[in-house]
Amino acid sequence: MTAEDERLDELIHDVRSKCATLSDAATTLRTATPEKRKRLLALMGDQARDVEAIIAAFDGS
């Protein structure tokens, strides 16, 4: 496996993992209390920015 393959594998893993969690969190919003909803949305925002940063890092390297 080349270094490029390894980087791509890591990208696939990170995006899958973070998006799976984002999707779960979005599902949870339906029954969340307003306070919980606020906290979840904040964490989801952070998560989305992480995904963006991971993609940018892969693209820029």
Binding site: H13, A20, T21, L22
Partner: protein
Amino acid sequence: MPNLSILVIEDDALARELMADELAGHSLDFAPDFAAAKRKLESSRPDLCFIDLKLGKGDDVSGLKLIPLAASRGAYPVVMSSNDSEPFVEKAYALGCRDFYSKGDVHGNVEAVLSRYRQRQGKGNDTSLFEADFVTVDPATQAAVGEALRYAPSDLPMLLLGPSGTGKTRLARIIHDRSGRRGQFVAINCASYTEDLLESELLGHRKGTFTDATEDRRGKLLLADQGTLFLDEIGAMSVRMQTKLLKAIEEKCFYPLGSEKPVTSSFRVISATLEPIPALIKSGKLRLDFFQRIHGLTVDLKPLSLRTGDIPPLIAAMTQGGRRLSFTAEAKELLLRHDWPGNVRELKKLVDLLAAGQEGRVTAETLAGLLDTLKSQEQPGGGFATEEQYRHALANGLAATIERVTESIIKRNLAENGGVKARVMDDLKIATRLLYKVLPGAAAPTDAKVGA
């Protein structure tokens, strides 16, 4: 489900938040990285441990290294990861993971894991365990057995202590059966072999290694590959053999006798002894490093005389599906008063004798006679004669003792048969002449028919 102690090892803050929701109501702890997880596992014993494999950016799936640690702490290791390709899944299970799910649908996955865990625990602690597999109503014994079974799925070595007949082999077998190991349960009693024979039994040998080695033979170590090796009476093993075995356990590799080719075998070791460990170490019979390698968890089984409450359920279990026995109040009292030097094994022998006897209703007299017989079998040399009989023979000659024993057996059988002499002759396969010699007060019959 009762409140569980759960450790979640997860670097993703959002995932931790979701896990906290799913596992609300349980005693939860979180570790965001490898170091914190290691620290927490080394200082606690969670029931379940959820492990993410990749812990942080650029991390080399360090979660894998935490699986055996979690298992060795008695936890049920669950991997939740997007590193779910076949090699990762295979490796995780090989390391001791009990459940693996791919990230996504956290609600459904956590619910399914808890359900499987509940089923597994149900099997591990179901009432059949203490009502059939290891019969005991004694809280301390139940706790000791329960603790041992908690570590059944791990590789943790175990040392079972307790007098002969307390159920050490049975417990070792139950631990193996509930370990999930695909290999065999292989037991060996170290006291049954000379040093050379034990070495050959454990390591195996090549054809021609010694005079009787007419063919290659696999040793117990190899037979126990992926399974459990139960070493009974470990104190009887020579120090030289302990050294060899220690090496084989640590390196998972050894040389059969006469072979220059190493053989690999990975097995879990459960040892047992009825001797006090400190004395064995102090006398040099047990190497300290060997002891340290085999005593991961020590389970102490109490003698039957200290858990007499177990006697009635044990008898009920031993006669299940066969002839049931009923004891008079005096007989029950005698059962509880007896010191049971042979423990459960002695009780089993007694029940077998009673079940094969004439009466289902057991009197104190019958019981006392059988307990005496069993006691005599525990004498040095496994003798059939009791100490009293032996002393009597020394003082009065063998013929006089045999005569007395004969009389005692005939009279007892006569009592058990309600005085029907024909049944006595039938039961004991004796002639009329002997019966009337022993019972001189009884009139000899005038014909061949002998009635009550």
